[in-house]
């Protein structure tokens, strides 16, 4: 009814195109020299989960390197939950802040990506696949790079690292052979070893992933998980999962009256000997912690032979980002063999690369080969099959249902 906003928008669009078109033009990654030139002197606000010091340190290194090489200033806005960044972008859209947004880059995947994509709040499709370093990305053998939790990425986000759910235990106290090989065995193990297992409290990302892992193992028809949760009978599909949790909880650490905050907290509990089995979304997590002196070198990894969840994590640029050129430069640098190899070093972070070794030149490949993946890291062949992530809507529903059932302890 009210035409004023539309008129105003039309008018400003005319003015924009007529008067200052070059100034408002979006950076085009195909013209990389122009991107680098525009990025010079920009400050990039990167909103990324800040709960792990190793990752924070790695991001700090990225910032130092970019400032030196491209005069791009990187500010790590440390989030407790990536959802906060999504909320900010949505709020800015609602408030009409079409340019000069407060976020330039988001570490993202799954539900948060799906949400921003659904609302068209991301920088133009295809930017990711036009980055110079995209040429090295292992599109062929890593399907999760182009399909994020069943959602096609369409070049709206640039891959950063690979994740796979891996479990850890201390071989000084428990035998690797005695470790559970499935969610069902984990339940038996927990019953036999009360108080020695737990998972981060959902909606923590890793905690919610544990719910999805159990769901994937207990569901009768895994294909329903690929559909949006609204189109299936959620209660029926998840009944085995919640039956499982009902059985598991009395045997958990603190009898499930409290949960660890996140996976770094679980590592601390493993180090203290409170927990016997922990897990993370990074196969090299244990090696990384050993290298950091946080865990003893007797920690070993294991996975379920039937497969564990795996996915890719990305970086995305909001539609109204203030320093898009700078954000592109950051995203491209994150994809460089140099940055990827450093990231995969367990002494730094240990996060697996998204690059294809056969696409790299010899020197870069040698850098990867030279990495000591660490005593507690499984070889790629030992990691077991990859389970596909369910449609992102499952995560939200699972978290809500979990809070309803277990969010108020008795």
């Amino acid at each position: 009814m009210n035409l004023r906003p539309i008129l105003a928008a039309a008018l400003s669009a005319c003015l924009t195109s007529a008067l200052s078109a070059p100034a408002f033009a979006e950076p085009d990654p195909a013209n990389w020299e122009a991107v680098l030139a525009e990025a010079k002197g920009q400050t990039v606000y990167w909103n990324a989960w800040g709960g792990s010091t190793q990752i924070n340190d790695y991001i700090a290194w990225v910032g130092d390197t970019l400032r030196e090489r491209h005069d791009v200033r990187l500010v790590h806005v440390k989030l407790e939950d990536t959802a906060t960044a999504v909320a900010t972008v949505v709020a800015e859209k609602a408030a009409g802040r079409e340019t000069g947004g407060s976020i330039d880059l988001i570490w993202i995947n799954g539900e948060n990506f799906a949400s921003l994509k659904r609302q068209s709040l991301l920088f133009s499709p295809g930017w990711a696949t036009s980055l110079p370093n995209w040429a090295f990305v292992d599109v062929e053998n890593k399907p999760t790079i182009t399909t994020d939790f069943t959602i096609p990425t369409e070049g709206l986000e640039s891959p950063w690292g690979m994740a796979k759910l891996v479990f850890f235990h201390d071989s000084a106290r428990t035998q690797t052979a005695s470790m559970p090989k499935s969610a069902a065995e984990l339940l038996q193990w927990a019953a036999a070893n009360p108080g020695r297992f737990s998972y981060p409290q959902p909606p923590d990302f890793v905690g919610s992933s544990f719910l999805k892992q159990v769901l994937a193992e207990t569901v009768t028809d895994p294909s329903v998980l690929q559909q949006p949760v609204e189109s299936v009978d959620f209660a029926a599909v998840t009944a085995p999962l919640f039956a499982y949790l009902d059985q598991l909880h009395p045997h958990l650490w603190r009898q499930a009256k409290a949960f660890p905050k996140d996976y770094p907290s679980m590592s601390q509990l493993l180090a203290d000997g409170e927990l016997e089995i922990t897990f993370a979304f990074n196969p090299a997590e244990a090696s990384n912690q050993i290298a950091g002196g946080l865990l003893p070198d007797t920690i070993r990894s294991f996975t379920f032979p039937g497969g564990t969840l795996s996915n890719t994590h990305f970086v995305a640029i909001p539609f109204n980002a203030n320093a898009k050129a700078g954000a592109l430069v950051v995203a491209d640098f994150l994809l460089s063999p140099e940055a990827q190899a450093r990231k995969q070093d367990p002494g730094v972070w240990g996060d697996p690369t998204v690059l294809a070794m056969d696409k790299l030149n010899e020197a870069d490949r040698a850098a990867f080969d030279a990495l000591d993946l660490g005593i507690a890291t499984l070889a790629p062949a030992e990691l077991g099959p990859a389970l596909a992530e369910p449609h992102p809507s499952w995560m939200t529903m699972l978290e809500t249902e979990w809070a309803k059932r277990y969010g108020v302890a008795n």
Binding site: G50, T84, Q201, R254, A258, S267, G407
Partner: protein, 559 residues
Amino acid sequence: MLRFAPTFAIAILCLPLLAGTAGTLLPAFGYLPAIGGDRLTLAPFAALLAEPGLFRSALTALATGLVSTFLSVAIVALFVCGWYGTRTFATLQHLVAPLLAVPHAAAAFALAFMIAPSGFVARLLSPWATGWDRPPDLLIVNDAMGLALVAGLVVKEVPFLLLVTLAAIPQSPVMAALPLVRSLGHGRTLGLLLAVWPGLYRQIRLAVFAVIAYATSNVDMAVILGPTLPPTLPVRLVGWMNDADLSRRFVACAGALVQIGVTAVALLLWIILERLTAAIGSAIADRGLRGQRERAVRFASGVAMALAATVVFGGLALLALWSVAGLWSFPDAWPQSLTIRTWEKSLPSVAAPLANTLSIAGLSTVLSVIIVLACLQRENETGRTGGNRALLLVYLPLLVPQIGFLFGLQLLLVSGGWDASLGALVLVHMVFVLPYVFLSLTAPWRAFDRRYEAIAIGLGASPSRVFWAIRLPMMLRAVLVATAVGFAVSVGQYLPTLLVGAGRFPTITTEAVALGAGGNRRVIGVYAFLQLALPFLAFAVASAVPALLFRNRRAIQAA
């Protein structure tokens, strides 16, 4: 210029408060056009009530707040009445006073590291006394009843209330009453409790109310020590405010109003409790009870006081040790190796938060001190103090739950595009810094011997010369102490920094809280150490500068 200082100060204290409360009120009833709420509705409250465990969250906030305040007031009352004027009192007072400068989050970490199943107490006793070679599976920190949170609040509130009480003692004849009480055959603790404490309490009442407001609505301590299934109401509110689903902000604002209600109920219950205590007190006095077998009570209050200091400073020392520890497994009481690795790795990422902390704290404190000095100087000229109403205004930001108006303030700042700016942050910090600077500077300022000024004026000095050459240098120590107090308050601010800074201005405190109690103890050690070091540095400067400046002036050193 000076004429406008009081008005300006009141504006700084009240405008954000009023605007913020209004900004919370409207969204609570569904009105916030920026995110699609364009009509008034009760839907946010309906959604709020549908939250699982909402009542329990509100109840734990109320109960932990009230119980911790009651314990703190009781400990301080018994301690002051039982020990005032003794050597033990002086010793413990000096031990406890620095606790005031410890930010809440750091104190919470310190406590958690002491009492957790894998904490230092368990390590000291294991395995020889407990038989534990692994930490017992006991829910101590984050317990459902909130006992750990109560303990944390008590160790922070006791020093605050003790110092407020000590400031009130000169106006109350404690020492004079003692022989009188004794001569009537009373034990000293009960005698003083009946004869002197009611008068003292009247003077510290506003401070007690401020403690209740903080204890029922705090986020930083509750995140670290409080229950998690479900968390206390304030903690959940912050979660909703930051939810990806924007409609949750309506729920958060509705919840903030409920939180104001919770705090109001707590205050109401407290007032009832005051009446009850007074009635019991006079009943005891009427029956002529003498309370001569009171050694246990007196002893307990001293132990509680000593424990508060030991736990926090011991815990902080442990945190510092963790920050240089290599592998340190249970039940060892000492790390297997020491290394500066954590510091080396942390320092680069500490630089930015440190710079933010220093600039925000520095600016907000200096501005607050200037405003307070201007107000006091104006009071000096007009001879009007503003009385109790002014004091209430000063206390106002401390009596309203932070969450109640910070949500609204954040929404207002976002819609104005002023969020995440240094200016907005400094302003919001001033809302909390200014009251403390005012409270700590007023008493010494008013106690100044004004004949010095009369003499200086008689010697031909203008009022401004008298201020700069006489008043300020002579009050330098008090001004610097007030500055250090303000600085410490700013350093410890968590929620305002988090909400208004929008993550762009991480400070040592927001980083420390984000790391959480379960996180990497070594890194927490680094942050807690810095959190502690900053205010202590400020206090050290406050005592070193006058000592250096006036090193040849004995009288002012003793002052």
